[in-house]
């Protein structure tokens, strides 16, 4: 057994909340550069350059890339040899979010669904915990903004819809979302599993670095085909017209029930924020 103090978890969650919100990943910046090279619309090129400049200011001045510093989504992979000591793990995660959002001057966006009263400290975070082999802990914080999340969907397709049906649905979803989710977007897709698993797969697929290939050659091809179709739509950066509607399509897939074809489409804005640490 390896013991880990939960206050270390609090400290790391706090740091990751701030880092994720102020320091855009190098993979995203490189994806902007590739888009600038391919883009045909002068206005779209201006917008992409603005996004690069925005990321530079955010990093330099330690201010949020986007004012919507999001729901704090936390993925925690816990090695089965790990024993957490010194308190309640869940509370430690919550406390990390509280401190990160307070000390980092991040916006608190969580509220009561009906009264809309703000919880005041951006809790609760959304927690995805998994037990894995080993004695290490992988902690990922992925703040997710409301604008792009609102455009996301889970749908239970019919098995007869097949790959073509999936493609049609995703492209249509991106088309209907238009400028709302802050394009250029990243499209996370979860195929299979069941209703809730598809959504988690879609969310997880977003964590793969931009520009990397899907290890499954069939899915890799499907990602390219869908991306190409999306970028023929013409929506472009911020919906003002252009070639770059999405930067990437990512897919995670698993088996599903013989009666079902679950599909989740999680749309991610260009402020594609996630940071991780291994303890």
């Amino acid at each position: 057994m390896r013991e880990i103090e939960v206050r270390r978890i609090t400290e790391k969650v706090k740091e990751l909340c701030i880092e994720a919100n102020t320091d855009l990943g190098e993979d995203v910046l490189q994806a902007f550069d590739r888009a600038i090279e391919k883009e045909e619309s002068p206005l779209a090129i201006e917008i992409l350059k603005e996004l690069k400049e925005n990321a530079r200011i955010a990093k330099e001045e330690r201010v949020p890339i986007c004012q919507d510093t999001g729901v704090a989504v936390i993925f925690l992979e816990v090695g089965q040899e790990v024993h957490f000591v010194g308190g309640d793990l869940k509370e430690a995660l919550f406390e990390g979010v509280r401190r990160g959002y307070r000390e980092g001057y991040l916006r608190k966006s969580m509220c009561h669904p009906f009264s809309r009263a703000n919880t005041g400290d951006n809790t609760p975070p959304i927690l995805h915990m998994e037990i894995v082999p080993g004695d290490r802990v992988r902690l990922i914080v992925a703040p997710k903004g409301g604008g792009s999340e609102n455009m996301s969907r889970v749908v239970m397709l019919s098995p007869s819809d097949g790959m073509e049906g999936i493609k049609r649905y995703v492209v249509q979803r991106v088309k209907e979302s238009g400028s709302n989710p802050c394009p250029p977007t990243i499209i996370g897709m979860g195929i299979g599993g069941n209703f809730e698993q598809a959504a988690i797969l879609a969310k997880k697929s977003l964590l793969r670095p931009l520009g990397s290939r899907n290890p499954d050659p069939d899915l890799d091809r499907l990602e390219s085909e869908i991306l190409e179709e999306i970028n023929r739509l013409g929506i472009g950066p911020q919906g003002l017209g252009g070639r770059t509607t999405s930067l990437a399509v990512h897919i995670l897939m698993m088996p599903c029930h013989i009666a079902s074809l679950p599909l989740a489409v999680n749309i991610q804005c260009h402020a594609h924020r996630h940071k991780e640490v291994i303890l």
Binding site: V63, T69, K108, N150, L240, H270
Partner: protein
Amino acid sequence: MPESIRLKTPLRDEDVERLRIGDRVLINGILYTGRDAAHKRLFDLIQGGKDLPFDIRGQIIYYVGPSPAPPGKVFGSAGPTTSYRMDVYSPALIEKGLKGMIGKGMRSDLVKEAMKKYKAVYFAATGGAGALLAKRIKRAEIVAYEDLGPEAIRRLEVEDFPVIVINDIYGNDLYIEGEKKYKRP
């Protein structure tokens, strides 16, 4: 890229009449912030025949819920939020004299009709460029609904705040035209 147009608030009919979709505009003067919850309150006041907490005539509302201002800064990160959620409230505000709105994303037909009828325009600021846009905000004060936190109505003094005209008073829509221009079969 063509030169940007400099506009000073409050906006008059002549100001909005010359704007066309795709125009890049630098706003100088005052912006009022307001998003979901503040819009509902303003709308309820209008419905109840009561006065609004600020004179809305000729003004621009910026759909933004900023992040908190860190020490030594005027304002936190401040990019636009998605506008369609304000669509149910906007026509009533436009009728009361609101001349401009800044947000991101497409507006409803009812909002577009109100913009044509009462001569108002809809601008987009770059969504997700909150750090960059905050630098153009020189002063900020809360004018109403402090209890709403990031959703309170604030009066911002801005210099060369960069926006693009999405809907002009002639019924044109840059989102529709832009997509058409770059769409491929």
